[in-house]
């Protein structure tokens, strides 16, 4: 009880992991922006819902950028901690998804892979595990694609992460990156042109 009084007086609330898996049902139906506003007011359950809602997409956005599962997991973790820590900076008139994706791509780009390292790692993996022909060919194609993706510029990698990791539309990407729709189309067009060239050169 004394701990509770002190904790309340100091304005801190220690999160109960038991409640982590069972957010209040009504919260699950609320919009991201409403949940973010609630989190700004200190509602940790709202945060749980946001984590549950976004963990997969954030993980995949990070994965598309860094190309490593474990690293993607660490980045996703970092993104949610940043959201919790800096939720006061979120402006409710903006869309929450664009804010969190922006944090995700910036965090991922700070730890993005070196192209050569990725190709070597993947190559080692496919060499270690003998695969039937068809699977081996698919693995090889995947390796080529990861290598090509790793050579894109940070902005192009971010675009690919948002487009193929989070499955965002061109409009949503434009909102996230805070640029006009035409710019997103041009950037994607160039990124894919580069990818096509790289893949053709590779094969």
């Amino acid at each position: 009880m004394i701990f509770g009084v002190i904790s309340t007086a100091l304005g801190r609330s220690y999160f109960d992991p038991e409640a982590a898996g069972s957010p209040v049902p009504q919260q699950a139906e609320l919009s991201d922006e409403t949940l973010a506003r609630r989190l700004q007011g200190g509602d940790v359950d709202a945060f749980n819902v946001l984590v549950e809602r976004y963990q997969q997409v954030i993980l995949n956005v990070a994965y598309r950028i860094v190309g490593d599962r474990d690293e993607a997991q660490d980045i996703a973790q970092e993104v949610f901690v940043k959201v919790y820590q800096h939720i006061a900076q979120f402006k409710p008139e903006r869309r929450f998804f664009s804010w969190i994706y922006r944090i995700a791509i910036n965090t991922a780009l700070q730890t993005r892979r070196k192209p050569q390292m990725t190709s070597l790692e993947n190559l080692t993996l496919s060499v270690q595990t003998p695969l039937p022909d068809e699977l081996a060919e698919r693995a090889e194609q995947e390796r080529e694609l990861w290598t090509a993706l790793a050579t894109l510029s940070p902005r192009e990698q971010a675009l690919m992460g948002l487009r193929y990791g989070a499955d965002l539309s061109y409009e949503e990407i434009a909102a996230t990156m805070d640029v006009p729709l035409g710019t997103v189309k041009t950037w994607l067009f160039r990124a894919k042109q580069r990818l096509t060239t790289l893949l053709e050169r590779g094969s």
């Binding site: 304005g11 801190r12 999160f15 982590a20 200190g42 994965y63 820590q85 067009f189």
Partner: protein
């Protein structure tokens, strides 16, 4: 119509609609070069879409929850009230020793020169003879309140998240 290269990229991603899509399709039917490009682009789109989609492990949420336990709750008001309370207690404690405190600023009291260590010892001796416990408590409380205010101000000045 020239080769609609950019439109082909959008068409391959299913992002082209309306008249432009219809015109591009019409061109595609008659242009073998664009058909080849379109096939390449569709294949690239399929390869990008086919990259593995990761499923988050329960460890992710658990790790996040463990880390946020150590952080202040969002929206938690800074401890201004606690600081204010300590400050008020400090001021109350100082009241009985007001005469001693005012004496410090009395013109008749001359503080020793900064490098005059023996002078400072004598001054401290004289001061401690007049000091009451409440004065010490009061000064400490005021100091603690000031530290709290500074610490909280610093924690609220977080860098912009990117």
């Amino acid at each position: 119509m020239q080769h609609p290269e950019r439109e082909l990229y959008e068409l391959a991603e299913g992002e082209l609609t309306g008249n432009v899509a219809a015109e591009t399709y019409a061109h595609l039917r008659t242009c073998p070069a664009c058909q080849a490009t379109f096939e390449r682009l569709t294949s690239l789109h399929a390869r990008l879409t086919a990259l593995p989609q990761l499923q988050p492990s329960p460890a992710l949420a658990q790790a996040v929850h463990l880390r946020i336990r150590a952080l202040p709750r969002p929206g938690a008001r800074p401890h201004w009230r606690v600081a204010g309370l300590i400050f008020a207690v400090g001021l109350l404690a100082l009241l009985p020793s007001l005469d001693v405190l005012l004496g410090l600023f009395d013109d008749s009291v001359h503080l020793p020169a900064f490098t005059d260590w023996s002078g400072w010892f004598v001054w401290l001796e004289q001061l401690s003879a007049n000091v009451e416990a409440t004065l010490v408590v009061g000064l400490c409380a005021v100091a603690v309140a000031c530290i709290l205010v500074v610490a909280q101000t610093l924690t609220t000045l977080q860098p912009q998240v990117r």
